[in-house]
């Protein structure tokens, strides 16, 4: 995917040249097991896992050994009794169109990825790359974080998505996502300067039996749970008179930054509006 605050430099460099970038691959590895993929990643020089490659091609990275996970059967959504399993190579377009995903959480995950550029782009970019890279502009991460989502890493094992996001970077391979199939109601909102652009702010909200969660993303740094506002949402009265207050609490407790798409102040104002809309939808308030 394209760059945001952290890598504006390479973004502009890419645009001003206008020609082909110098992304290179020395050798390609197509391992048959995840253990082998991890071994190559750790042992070989300048090794990198290939996701959808839409972001990699924008840069000038010289990859010694590119590791392609095609043979690992990770491009799939599978339903288990209590969990839904999403393989790392599943594309955003699959998330958008998969019936099982659409039928859960009020279609939250599909709605979250719909504004990402276009159909042809979403057919390429992968769930694993967007989550593992912890992109601030990721439209998917906030929605996943609003659900009970776990990340399965080749070496690090299984952990809550929130734990994973807060850990420092460590070489590993994201193998699958696991989402608990509860009866959570959910909704998301995003705001962009124009259709198919990066979001200026993303919001995802969920509610399950008195347990509310409000997530704010593209601040522009990575998505986080607004803890105080989430606690307030958990206590939401059925007649919901306090939605504006919850939205203000979320806007006050989060930190926002400025980048080329919008200022911190603008994001804080947007946060109030988007949280209000998403909470109203989840709580089915008028």
């Amino acid at each position: 995917m394209r760059a945001n605050k952290e890598d504006n430099k390479s973004y502009w460099k890419t645009e001003s040249i206008g020609g082909d970038c110098m992304f290179t691959v020395g050798r390609l590895a197509q391992p048959d097991t995840i253990e082998e993929a991890y071994r190559i990643l750790m042992e070989e020089r300048d090794a990198a896992i290939l996701g959808g490659c839409a972001f990699l091609r924008m840069g000038s990275r010289k990859i010694g050994t590119a590791i392609d996970l095609t043979h690992l059967d990770l491009k799939a959504v599978r339903e288990h009794e209590d969990w839904m399993e999403i393989g790392a190579m599943t594309t955003l377009r699959m998330i958008e169109t998969d019936p099982a995903i659409n039928n859960r959480f009020d279609g939250l995950l599909a709605e979250a990825v719909k504004p990402v550029i276009g159909v042809q782009f979403r057919s390429i970019v992968t769930v694993g790359a967007t989550v593992f890279s912890k992109y601030g502009f990721s439209d998917l991460i906030p929605a996943l974080l609003a659900l009970e989502t776990e990340v399965e890493l080749a070496h690090g094992g299984r952990m809550a998505l929130e734990t994973f996001l807060n850990r420092p970077f460590e070489k590993d391979i994201l193998v699958r996502l696991w989402i608990r199939k509860d009866e959570r109601r959910a909704a998301c909102r995003s705001f962009r300067n124009s259709a198919s652009d990066f979001p200026i702010l993303t919001v995802a909200v969920s509610l399950l039996a008195g347990q509310g969660r409000i997530v704010i993303g593209a601040r522009p740094s990575k998505a986080e749970i607004a803890l105080k506002a989430s606690r307030e949402l958990s206590n939401l009265d059925a007649n919901c008179p306090r939605i504006e207050e919850i939205a203000s609490i979320a806007a006050d407790e989060m930190s926002f930054g400025t980048n080329m798409r919008g200022s911190a102040e603008y994001r804080r104002e947007l946060c109030k509006v988007l949280v209000k809309q998403a909470v109203a939808e989840v709580a089915a308030c008028k």
């Binding site: 839409a54 392609d68 159909v119 057919s123 390429i124």
Partner: protein, 151 residues
């Protein structure tokens, strides 16, 4: 490395470097309908079908089409010509640079969506940029082609 796949209905065994993208490989083999308009994976000009799904060929590494079916506009020329006539009649075609990618996306839309609404059409075609004509003419042409009621 070698990649074995089907392009426009014909079996192909091509030698590709591991870091070459499909748009470049296809052009090298004479499929000159493939254009690159943005270099940032967002304009839709290089759209081809991989296993029937519209995909940005500028962002797919060529080795990844191993065993797959790739279709460019050269492989669906009759259908493309039918839509192109409507596009021209609606005044929605000018320099033509974006047309192959746009047409491939419209033909894919016709296969995937049944009686789509305006919103569904716009959603499917978002990410296909045209700098000459404007999107209203394109919308009229798409709806005429799909046979959905003009609203």
């Amino acid at each position: 490395m070698q990649v074995e796949f089907v392009v426009n209905g014909k079996q192909a065994v091509w030698e590709v470097p591991p870091d070459e993208f499909l748009a470049d490989t296809l052009r090298k083999h004479g499929l000159l309908s493939i254009r690159k308009g943005c270099n940032t994976s967002c304009c839709g000009l290089c759209t081809v079908w991989i296993d029937g799904k519209p995909t940005l060929s500028c962002s797919v590494l060529s080795f990844r089409v191993q065993g797959k079916f790739v279709m460019t506009i050269e492989g669906v020329s009759e259908e493309a010509a039918e839509f192109a006539r409507i596009l021209v009649a609606e005044g929605a075609d000018q320099c033509g640079f974006c047309s192959p990618g746009f047409v491939m996306t419209v033909l894919a839309l016709k296969r995937e969506l049944v009686s789509p609404t305006d919103d569904e059409i716009v959603h499917y075609l978002t990410g296909n940029l045209c700098r000459c004509t404007g999107y209203l003419g394109q919308m009229r042409a798409v709806k005429t082609y799909l046979g959905v009621t003009q609203r």
